[in-house]
Structure formats: C-alpha cells, structure tokens
Symmetry: C2
Subunit: 101 residues, 2 copies
Amino acid sequence: MPTVVATIIPLAGRLDDVEAVLRDLAPQVHQEDGCEKYALHRGRDRIVVIERWRDGAALGAHGQGPAIKTMGQRLAGLVSAAPDVQILEPVEAGDPARGRI
Amino acid sequence: MPTVVATIIPLAGRLDDVEAVLRDLAPQVHQEDGCEKYALHRGRDRIVVIERWRDGAALGAHGQGPAIKTMGQRLAGLVSAAPDVQILEPVEAGDPARGRI
C-alpha cells in the first residue's frame, strides 16, 4: 500500500496556474484503478500531492497513464524541474484512526 | 485545517532507531487536542510524518508540547538536522473520498 508525497515547485508567480492543472486532473486520477487517495495541498511556494495506492502495480500504472502524461504537458513552462516524488510505506503506530491516512 | 508533512532524515544506519522513537511517541501525539492525523511513513532513507490538525492553534500547541520536546531529546545523535516541516492547506478537488486525507 504505497504512499506517495509528490512536491511540485512552480516558477515564480505560477502557483495558481499549477494548482489549476492539478485540480483539473484530480477527478481523472481518482478514477484510476487502485487510487485510494490523491489529495492536493498548497503551501507558500508549492503544491504537494499526498497519494495512497492499492499496490505498487497500481502506482506504476498511474505513472505510465494518460493523466500523468497530460499533466507533464500542461506543467511544461510552469515549473523548472520534475516533481520530487517520495515513495513511502506506512508504519503502524498508535491509534489506527489517526495513525493512517 | 492545516496539513503537515514532516521529513526526518536519520544519520547513516540509524533509520530503525529514528522509526522507533516516532513509534513510541505516536500514541501520545494522537491524544493531543486537535490531532486528526499523525501517520508515520518510512522511505529508503527517511521517516515522513503526514499530519492533519483541527486548526493552527492545535498545531501550535503540538509544536510547544511535551511529545515534541521528548522527540527532540531522543532524536539528538540520530539526525544531523532539524526535521523539514512543510505546513500546507488542503485544496478541494475531485472525489472527496479520495481527494482528502
């Protein structure tokens, strides 16, 4: 059950544009097989997506799928680097209601 | 409803030790007022905590509270830098069941 934290840092002044791209594509990603969470967040200078996938195969298919391809095309010119993608595994601890996303 | 992504990068060979500290303290954090999520994750070289707090006041109290103080004491010698703490706000998009943590 991989969890992903993907960080996208826009070029100066393009945070709203990057957020709009991610908002547009979220419904399509939510319909992908094995997508359990794909939750957008905004920081001062970045968009961070917190994701949870059923398994590594579902995450792999997402990475090769049409939504990511469109995203890459639409983010060109709005960012200076590829997203930072951290692939993580949950660690069980404490209260399950609070200890899992 | 602030969301936090806190990244802790251990010194070489100390990932298991850092994970143990966070696991020990998670139940205490889960009982703090306003803690909605405090979910531990492990990557190849890091521990990442994904957190959600009721409001900024609850997050502020957590940052000044006894669990964080103990954590700082126990992590001394296991890490070379303070955690990277990103404070974010959720962006609503798509299916609410998948679009929020």
